[in-house]
Structure formats: structure tokens, C-alpha cells
């Protein structure tokens, strides 16, 4: 079990070194089916996107869990407006 914890931490450490806002925006945009990538930037207010709904928010939570090993809560979303806000939350926790 200790080995597992170590590996997970190590994994997060590697990701921390490579966490990049542009990759994050792309990963964020990948959770949307209709909205083109050009519409996403760090200052994009995700709630203004037509496609934003409870399912896309869950997809973002799943993406952040898979890609960065970080847990996002409902409160995190309520306190955020832009993609950069979410990026900052995630990077502070990796």
C-alpha cells in the first residue's frame, strides 16, 4: 500500500512539472462535443458557453481527476468563472 502511495505521489510530481495552461485549455475543450477549440482561452467564462451544463462540468471533474490526479468539488466551480480560475485551483493542488 505504501508503494502505491509513493507511486501516486511520484506521478503527481511528474505532472506538476509539465502542467501547462495551453494543455489544460485543450483538455478542457476536449470535454465539449460541439464548441470549437478556438472558443476556449484562459479568460473564457465557461458558464457563457452554450454547451456548458451539469454533464460537461462532470466531464471536467473526470478529466482533472484522470489527467492531474486532483479532486474538484461543486464549491470549486461555484467560486470560479474562467478556465484560468480552474487551472489555478488544479495547479495549486497537484
Amino acid at each position: 500500500m505504501y508503494t502505491l502511495v509513493f507511486l501516486q505521489q511520484n506521478n503527481h510530481f511528474n505532472k506538476k512539472c509539465t502542467m501547462d495552461i495551453n494543455d489544460f485549455i485543450k483538455n478542457f475543450a476536449d470535454q465539449f462535443d460541439e464548441t470549437p477549440l478556438e472558443q476556449f482561452s484562459s479568460s473564457t467564462n465557461f458558464r457563457d458557453l452554450d454547451e456548458w451544463d451539469s454533464l460537461t462540468s462532470l466531464s471536467i471533474i473526470a478529466m482533472v481527476d484522470e489527467e492531474y490526479g486532483v479532486k474538484l468539488t461543486g464549491e470549486d466551480f461555484r467560486n470560479s468563472n474562467t478556465i484560468e480560475d480552474i487551472f489555478n485551483l488544479v495547479s495549486s493542488r497537484v
Binding site: 500500500m1 502505491l4 451544463d53 451539469s54 462532470l58 471533474i61 479532486k71 468539488t73 461543486g74
Partner: protein
């Protein structure tokens, strides 16, 4: 997370009962088909069975228990242990299991108790009944697990009402010195207690004029403080991280590989979340049964209901290892591996 193993106890039979009344989500009495289509697509819940005004958790569990006792051919006088897992008991007090002890004509030597856990409740219930049987409290025991969620959700809340269904189940356990020991992994994180909560009606916030007042929280969500409130994002975030780690921990503790397990029965939370969990664990799809489409989320009852509904033919003959994982309200989670041999499984009945 606490990992432990209980010997000398075997699951011998299982049954389930749902109400007759069925509600289709795409033909919902309150929400439009347009509103419900994305909900059905993501949660996988097409329909649910809902109790009538008069029907309660005890009624559903009573029927499941009678069906199972008859199919097993048990003498009622031999049943010395009755546990009911439910969050929707018939009364605030006394415990509903006491009422069922009498209604089922079980002897007064019978130990009866309620356990008010939800999504993790089946696994906790098995750990409790198995501990008591192993300790010598009884040779034969019944674990009833049921919910009437429809009684506690607001009919005008599209984030909860269309997800939940009602069901009652019964599982029969026996002392057996040759039984394969049951391994468990149980855990709790009460910091997330607000993720799924009925805020009023208990001691902290009483039922009064204020708590009974319905309020529009957002579009499609109108409820009072005595209704179930769920923060879907928190629950999702918890489920996709905790459930896979709980399964991994139990497999590690038991030195088992995924391949050795015949079936993985997860709490039926919602399809989107369950699929993520299964994908993360890299479990072959054919080993993972679902009943969300037919029964929705029935809280503590989802695991036994899914076993009866989807694994009856498979578990009825031969030996099988079934991993069960429940996770949710509390926040609380539990995982176990049940070994069965020619399990007695009834057909699902309706009342």
C-alpha cells in the same frame, strides 16, 4: 480504510421486491421530455418503480423476506437475527426491524436492529450480520435492505426525483464452518456529509413552517429543507476517485487479480459515474451488470437488486466470486467479495 475478514458465514439466498407503480422519465408527470432527454442519456435511468402513498420500506422488505424464506424452506423459528438497512424507515422510532420481526413471525429470541446507511449500506450490513453470526449470535440471519426514496425527494427537483427509485431486498446468511471467509474494506469521510443530505427534520433543524416551505433553488429545482439535497459534482468527484481506490485496496488486501473475480456489482449511482469507475479499474464490461435503466438509484438496495435482476441465472448454479462496492451518502464506502455456491435467487416480485 479498515480491511478485515469474517469467516464461517455464507450467503445462501437473495430476493427483491419493487412496487407495481412505474414512472418513465421520458414521460415524466412533471418534467418535459425535452428537459428529461439529456438527464436520461447521462444517468441511464429510463424508469423507476415508486411506492404508493400507503406503501413503505417495511412493506417491500417484508415481501422480499417472505419470498426468500419460502424459497429457502427455512423454519422461521430458526431465524435469530434480523438487520434492516434503510434511510427511509417507517417511523422515526421504533426501529422498523422490530416491527418486521413481529410481522414476519420471527421468534422473540431474534436480535433486530436498523442500520441507517445508504449507498454503502449493503456492504456494511453484510459486515454486521456476518460478524454477529460468526460470534455465535445466530445460526441463520436475514439482512433486509430497502428504500422508499420517493418519500424524501421533492417531486419538483429534477436533480434528484428522476434518479431515485424504491425497492426492498432480502439476503439470507448462515453459519457454515466451511464458508470461504468474506473480506471487507470499509471507510468514511464525514467531511463530505453535506454532499447528500436531508437538511431538516432531524434535531438540528426541525420540521417547521420554514423548513417545509418550497423554494425555487434554480431552474428545475424546487424543494424544501425536508427534501433530499444532492451536490452532484461533489458526489461525482468522490465516486470516481474513492470507488476505484476502494476496489483496488480490497484486491490488494486479498491478493486477488481482477481476472479472478467473476462479477463486479457496483452501487448504481448513475451511468455516467459508474462507467467512469469501471473504465478506471479496467474491468471487462461483461463482468459489470447495471440496472439503472430499469430501477434507477435505489440507494442501499442497488447492489442486492442488481444481483437478483442481472445475475440470477449465473449465480444459481456453480461457485462464483462477486465483488460488491457501495459508495455515497455519509460520505461512506464499502467493498467486499462474496463467494457463493448454487445461490438461491428468487424472481423479482411486485406489490
Amino acid at each position: 480504510m479498515a480491511c478485515f475478514t469474517i469467516p464461517n458465514v455464507k450467503l445462501v439466498g437473495i430476493s427483491a421486491c419493487v412496487p407495481e407503480k412505474v414512472i418513465s422519465n421520458l414521460d415524466h408527470p412533471y418534467f418535459s421530455t425535452e428537459q428529461m432527454t439529456p438527464f436520461v442519456n447521462s444517468t441511464g435511468v429510463n424508469q423507476r418503480y415508486i411506492a404508493t402513498e400507503e406503501q413503505t420500506t417495511a412493506d417491500l422488505c417484508y415481501k422480499a423476506a417472505e419470498d426468500l424464506i419460502a424459497k429457502l424452506g427455512w423454519e422461521k423459528s430458526e431465524i435469530d437475527l434480523l438487520i434492516l438497512v434503510t434511510q427511509t424507515a417507517d417511523y422515526k422510532l421504533p426501529v422498523t426491524s422490530a416491527i418486521l420481526q413481529d410481522r414476519l413471525n420471527l421468534p422473540t429470541t431474534c436480535l433486530a436492529m436498523d442500520i441507517p446507511l445508504g449507498c454503502s449500506g449493503y456492504v456494511y450490513g453484510v459486515s454486521t450480520i456476518a460478524s454477529l453470526i460468526n460470534a455465535g449470535a445466530a445460526r441463520k440471519g436475514l439482512l433486509l435492505v430497502g428504500e422508499t426514496n420517493s418519500k424524501v425527494v421533492s417531486p419538483f427537483d429534477k436533480s434528484t426525483e428522476p434518479l431515485f427509485g424504491d425497492a426492498g431486498t432480502a439476503s439470507a446468511f448462515e453459519f457454515d464452518a466451511n464458508a470461504v471467509p468474506i473480506p471487507f474494506s470499509l471507510g468514511t469521510d464525514g467531511s463530505g456529509y453535506k454532499a447528500i443530505i436531508i437538511p431538516a427534520g432531524g434535531a438540528r433543524t426541525k420540521t417547521d413552517e420554514t423548513s417545509l416551505k418550497f423554494e425555487q433553488v434554480e431552474d428545475g429545482i424546487n424543494r424544501n429543507q425536508c427534501s433530499l439535497v444532492m451536490d452532484g459534482m461533489d458526489v461525482f468527484s468522490f465516486g470516481i476517485s474513492r470507488a476505484p481506490s476502494a476496489v483496488r485496496e480490497l484486491l490488494e488486501y486479498t491478493n486477488k487479480e481482477t481476472e479472478e473475480i467473476d462479477y463486479f456489482v457496483f452501487h448504481q449511482a448513475n451511468l455516467f459515474m459508474n462507467k467512469k469507475i469501471v473504465k478506471k479499474l479496467k474491468i471487462p464490461e461483461e463482468k459489470v451488470p447495471y440496472t439503472l435503466d430499469k430501477y434507477g438509484n435505489t440507494s442501499s438496495a442497488t447492489i442486492p437488486l442488481t444481483i437478483v435482476s442481472e445475475l440470477k441465472d449465473k449465480l444459481s448454479s456453480g461457485r462464483h466470486q462477486t465483488l460488491c462496492c457501495g459508495f455515497g451518502v455519509g460520505l461512506s464506502w464499502g467493498t467486499m467479495v462474496l463467494n457463493t455456491e448454487n445461490l438461491i435467487v428468487t424472481d423479482i416480485t411486485q406489490i
